[in-house]
Structure formats: C-alpha cells, structure tokens
Symmetry: C2
Subunit: 310 residues, 2 copies
C-alpha cells in the first residue's frame, strides 16, 4: 500500500513510525568516548540512528559509565573487535591518536568517518595506514564543540543547527558519502562538501587562529605580578575573548601542529594587520584606526546576520 | 529615638524605609545620554539615588524618549543650565567629547565624576580646562558595557556586580570621594581605588588589547573572496572572539588613541608572544606550544574561579 492512499494525517504518522522503527545503521561504533564521542552517542540515541551502539576508549571507566547511563549499548575490548560487523565507524579521538587507531581497524566494508579538526593531516594518516583513502572512508568535521572536556560534559544537542564539513575525494563511494551526509542531517546538521585543503584554510581563519589568540590573551596575564587584582577588573570582553583558552592544551597543540602551514599563513596575514594597527595608533591616525574597526564591525554584523546568534 | 530601642525586625524595616525615602542626591545630572548614560539613569531610578534626575545630550529625541519612559525627570537645554544646582554631575560622553563638555560646566561645588574608559587622557582634559583637577572631581570607570549602542539599549542592571575603578589624587575631597563611592555601591558595584596610570595599564591588558584583537579577527575576513561561505562555517569560537568587534568604531578609536602608550606596550608584549608561538608551531615544537596553552588555561581557570561567571 502506498502512502498516498492514506489521508494526510495518517501519512504523517506513518512517516514518524517509519523514522522511529527503521534505524539507519545496524551497528555504529564510536572510537574515542570523550566530549565529542559522548555527544555523538547521545545524538545517535536521541535520533534512533543505530540498532546497536558500541564505543571504545582507553578509559574503561568512561565506557562503563556510558553503559550505565544507556548512552551506549555496550563497549568493546579493543578496536579490532569493535570494528567487526560495524556498518559505521566514527573516529573521535584526538588528531595525534588517529594513526594508531586506524592501524587497528579490521577494514572490511564498513563506512568510516571522523570528526577531526584538521583534514589534511587526517588524510595523510589514512594514506600512511591504507596506502590510499578507502572509498568508504569519508573524512568529516562537525563545526561544534566546547571548552569543556570529557564524556561527562557531553550534550545531546551539541551538533544541532551546526554545519558539518565532509571532504570526500573523486574516488569516494557515493553510497557511503550519502549515508554519512544523512547521518549528520538526521542529527540536525547542515552538510558542506569541500576539499580537505579548503577545509583547513577556512578553519585556520575561523577557528584555529582565534583559538591561538584567545590562549595568548590569557597567557599574557600569566606573569602579571598582581594577577588576581588585574583579573578582578576584567569584564565581558576578557570573559569572551579568553573562554576557549580553557580548552584542553594537548588537543589544541595537536590541532595547531597538524594545520601548521595554513595556520602560519593566517597568522602572518594577521601579524601584518596588527603591525599596521600598531603604527596607526602610534602615529595617532584616528581615521585609519576607525576604518579598521569599521571593517571589523562590518564582518561581525555580517556574521550575526548569517547565524542569527545575537 | 535610636534604632537600638526597636526590636531587630523593626530595625530592619526602619533601614529599608530610610534607604527608600532619603535620596543620596538632590539633583543628579547625566551629561551624555547613550548606552552608559541611559543605564546609569535606570540604575539611579531603580535604587532611588536622586530626588531629581536630569540629562543632557546633543540628541534631543533621546532625551524626549527618556522623559516619556520616566528614565529621567527632565532634560536641560545646555550643559551650563544642567549643571546649575546639581550636587552630582556624571559625564558619560565619548572620550573625544570630554574636553568640550568640561569647558561648558558652570563649576561651583558640584561633585563631578565620569565613566570614561581611559583615565590619563581624561585627567589631562580636566587639567587643560580647570588648570588642575578640582578636589570634588573624582574620575571613575565602571567596568561594564556592551557592544550595543545608544540609549535604547540601556539596562538597569548593567553595573550590578561589576567593579568601578575610581582614580582620586592626593588633593581629592574626602567627602566627594566617599559620596561617589557610595553612589556606585548602592547601584551594586565593588569599588577599587588606584592611580589613573595603573588603571590605564590594567585596562590596556584586560580590555583594550582584547578589543583590538577582536576587531582584527573580524577584519581579517573583510577581503575574503567567499566571506559568507567562510562565516557560515564559523562556530562558537569565532562568535565569542568577534562579539565586541560589533562595538562603535568611533568610540573605540578614541579609546585606543587616548590610551596609546599603554596599549602599544601591551601590544608589543603580545607581539613577542605571538612570534614566539609562530616559531614553535613552524618548528613543530609540541611541548612548547602545549606549555603556552597550559599557561593560558591556568589564567582562564583563575579568572573563572574569581568571577564564577562560568
């Protein structure tokens, strides 16, 4: 019987029934059960995307806690056994651990994706392990996160309304790309496809450089003789500008070094602007300083109009 | 009759009665009725600090609107008539307009304070107009604000829980200093006293440099060929790091140039760190990069523990 034989109200019910009963995947495996892995688990459960959801991590306590909380249906002893029989593997370990994880995967016809913040270095790791990027491996990056750390900070709606960038290549399997896209769409994300290189160039500007600057804004106060006194007089601007400097130093050191070339390119362009601004302030050039600030305001207002986050 | 003759419960009522009935000032005049002036008006009304509250601004529409909304009791035609009979004058005009405003004040025995973001330049303006800082003029700066602009964005609780820095000198009138301190205390602020120079050094680090960096983070995207596309992939880090770049360019150009020496000092120290970080990334020095990030995280965690704003 086709759905058009039913009145509209019933069709709607049927659609809901269909979505809820039919999971996209039989067995999804999350490798790396931290903030992002945990939030993906919650998103999968919330949207009923897997019949079975299994996780692996070096931290057994987190896995046990995740099972107790029904965030996952079970956990594996090692990556090899976790990857057996999976139809989707999501890699959510820090960049520096990707290669070691890839080496342990028992590669068959699983679809594999990852959530790493740098795509060029991930593709290099994949090529080192598998000679070339397996057609059913679709590199990805959900543009979302938090300065918090660990599975316990997971959020079921971390990715909703955010974009996910996928960086397939010409040999990517169309079915795998389609399934990974639908996976993120069902979680509530907007999907963008681009090359790994374009991804890394954009993220250097919109995420990695701002992160580096945030850390240095905080770090500049490290040696302050009366740091408590100075920080007590800091308000909203310092609060916002320093927020992401609370992020995990090891993970971000990895990101900076993995995207070193694009980050240094962005940093060099930023340094030119900073020197320029400094000279304009030193020479009292009010009109040039104001022009810089106006251009910045134009971009921020543009961003606000796009994201409607203000 | 002394309050100790009453049982405790009655004493408390008496105190409330006393606070509500007895305004601190007969006539308060706010010169400059924008975001900050408007928020001060709302704070004064909320805390019943003035029997009469008058404002002056070049923008007559704002003054009329403020009267209609009962934010103020009336407005003056010019600064001279506004300042007559006032016992407190609060200057909340942009830094560049302070001198012109000071020249028009009919100086008698009014207490005067201001809310300017730079204190050294304000003191210089005062000295140019009055030869020396009048003893009853107490320079001040509430460390609060918003990237929004104009009287209509005013908030009655903008200053609550924030600090206010006052920069009296050795010749300051003790009664005037006490009254200005109590004025801000009653609004809900914590008061700090320091020299104008210390104020400007601290604010360069905690506010002016972060602001400059925020503007340049946004400005760096100005010439981006596909700016919409890039901004669509920006998330929480860019949102926070760019927020204050939406602030009024003219006001912030004034602040940067008014605090030029301290700001350039901070900027130079920041540039050294930025070059250092760049070299560590270029040479793949993971441990040094991580150390920088750890020091930044230490400061941010320190800040969070002080402000409990996270």
């Amino acid at each position: 019987m086709k759905t058009r034989d039913f009145p509209w109200r019933w069709q709607k019910s049927l659609v809901i029934f269909d979505l809820e009963s039919k999971s996209m995947f039989k067995k999804v495996v999350i490798i790396g059960f931290g903030l992002i892995g945990g939030s993906i688990a919650l998103s999968i459960k919330k949207n009923r995307l897997a019949k079975e959801l299994v996780a692996w991590d070096t931290d057994q306590d987190c896995l046990k806690k995740g099972s107790e909380l029904n965030m996952i249906d079970g956990f594996a002893e090692n990556i090899k056994s976790a990857s057996e029989g999976a139809d989707l593997i999501v890699l959510s370990v820090p960049l520096a651990e990707m290669r070691g994880v890839l080496e342990q995967i028992d590669l068959q016809d699983q679809i594999i994706t990852d959530v790493g913040s740098v795509k060029g270095s991930f593709v290099k790791d994949v090529e080192k392990v598998f000679t070339k990027v397996p057609p059913r491996l679709i590199p990805g990056h959900p543009i979302a996160g938090s300065e918090k750390k660990g599975m316990r900070a997971s959020e079921a709606n971390m990715f909703e309304g955010h974009s996910v960038i996928l960086t397939p290549n010409e040999e990517s399997d169309k079915v795998a790309l389609d399934k990974v896209s639908k996976f993120w769409s069902r979680i509530g994300c907007k999907i963008s496809l681009m090359s790994a290189e374009d991804h890394d160039a954009i993220l250097a500007k919109t995420s990695h450089l701002p992160h580096l600057l945030s850390s240095l804004i905080s770090e500049s106060m490290y040696d302050e003789p009366d740091r408590s006194g100075a920080l007590a007089h800091a308000a909203g601007s310092f609060r916002d500008m320093s927020r992401i400097s609370a992020s995990d130093p090891a993970i971000w050191a990895d990101i900076f070094l993995s995207n070193d070339l694009k980050l240094i390119e962005s940093l060099d362009r930023f340094l030119v602007r900073l020197e320029n601004m400094k000279n304009n302030i030193a020479s009292g050039n009010h009109s040039e300083v104001k022009t810089f600030l106006e251009r910045g305001k134009t971009v921020r207002d543009h961003f606000s109009s796009i994201t409607k986050e203000l």
